[in-house]
Symmetry: C2
Subunit: 277 residues, 2 copies
């Protein structure tokens, strides 16, 4: 790259860091990229770090020593995440969302990449220090959220399928019981998709009693992998506590009540709504 | 936001623009956000525009007049996209990818959010001027690509399902013939998912004869919507031209040959590999 002025270098370094979250970048990499002295690069990084931290975009960790460098850790303070969750909750309360059988139409919201990216950032911030190796979801509607989260954590996504697909090679299948209506389903994961001992973050769009998530946890046992966290966008709050199969998870929004006769829906923030500043 | 120095403002404006592709942002928005004069903001934008364009990140369009402002249009010159496609092609040639039935294991590559985001940027650049309203894909493996593309175009994603899901409300279903093995499948789209007359960009991970894409096009007719473009990551090149159902599409890589006995796979760049500089 040709030699840039400080102002131009700040623009380029900002985009470079934003596109590489959770990635250690050495001062040498920057110095060579911009054909600049390491002392100038260090001064640039001080400016960027201050803006990132002031504006709640994330931390810029500095690691000293020969193997040192900087690492951008996306964060999302409550002051940014809570208004997003509150707006989402108001949208979910639209009576037109009620579907036969007590389901809620969320497809339009899940179809907004910008919203998914914001939510992914919230989960990435929540699990930034959980030593995750891979993000997992089950097809279909949780996929955009899982990718948005994984992108901000610089991790791969592993996708559990409902059926064994010919394009996946050999696979492990399990049966699981859906917690809410006790029906039996199958889920399957390609043998080569997951390494043993992996620490897995499970992400999904909706959780009722938690049967699907519990199924994914059972599937992980087959791979000798462990659950390092569970994040769901919306949880159903209309359950007795003994109906819930799972207690350790983060939810961003909670569906507290649906009345099919009066078409009233109540949604409130879930058990996680961003980091304290 | 508190008043920032120019250097800090450049960092903040860069992230603000990168997170809002294809979105018109007025000078007033920036001036109020940073509590700065419009003349200063204009000078900042000149610096950012130069870096974005020099480094192949995209264009910063300036729209004059009362309704004016700037719009970030992500681009990807061939000098950046071709090496990514070539690396992808080498990875696809790994003999371990051959699956029974002539399929290729691609799940690990599709599971890399950073790669999907790069590919999404290529499609977004290719279709930046095609007046798209919505990006469409059919579940499951094309989903991350569709979202990555839509995010860079600031558009929603519409997801075609294989079955009619209770969480989608009323839906339109069609049957289609898979071009390669002549089997009949169903695809379905929620009634409320797509407005009439929408201009649709179809994105998928793999195309053989094009039966699945042709099915999506037929489904669009039911919604009086039109195809404004088709982009696939990998196309199979082992077809006679009269076997192909579709001729107008962009592919990034082309699988030219698989030999199951010798386990040899040949992949070359597809018919689109980035914009000329």
């Amino acid at each position: 790259m040709k030699k840039l002025k400080r102002s131009a270098r700040l623009v380029e370094m900002t985009q470079f860091l934003l596109h590489r979250p959770h990635t250690l970048i050495s001062l040498t990499t920057f110095a060579e990229r911009y054909n600049a002295a390491k002392s100038s690069i260090s001064e640039d990084l001080v400016i960027i770090k201050e803006v990132f931290e002031e504006e709640g975009m994330g931390d810029l960790l500095t690691l000293a020593g020969a193997a040192g460098g900087v690492k951008f850790i996306p964060r999302m303070p409550k002051s940014i995440s809570l208004p997003i969750i509150e707006e989402l909750s108001r949208k979910l309360e639209d009576p037109d969302r009620i579907l036969p059988g007590g389901y809620l139409y969320m497809t339009d919201l899940l179809g907004q990449p910008a919203l998914m990216n914001e939510v992914g950032k919230m989960f990435a911030a929540a699990f930034a220090d959980a030593q995750i190796d891979v993000v997992m979801t089950v097809e279909t509607k949780g996929i955009p959220l899982a990718y948005a989260t994984a992108a901000q954590l610089n991790l791969p996504v592993v996708l559990v399928r409902r059926d064994h697909q010919v394009t996946e090679g050999s696979a492990v299948s399990i049966n699981y019981v859906s917690g809410s209506n006790k029906s039996i389903h199958t889920m399957t994961l390609a043998r080569r998709a997951l390494k043993e001992k992996s620490r897995v973050l499970i992400i999904d769009d909706f959780m009722k009693a938690g049967g699907t998530v519990q199924g994914m946890i059972d599937l992980l046992h087959e791979f000798e992998a462990v659950v390092a966290g569970v994040g769901v966008l919306v949880e159903s709050g209309e359950l007795e506590s003994n109906e819930r199969l799972l207690n350790d998870y983060y939810s961003l929004a909670k569906l507290t009540h649906i009345d099919f006769k009066t078409k009233q829906i109540s949604v409130e923030p879930g058990n996680y709504f961003g980091e304290e500043a």
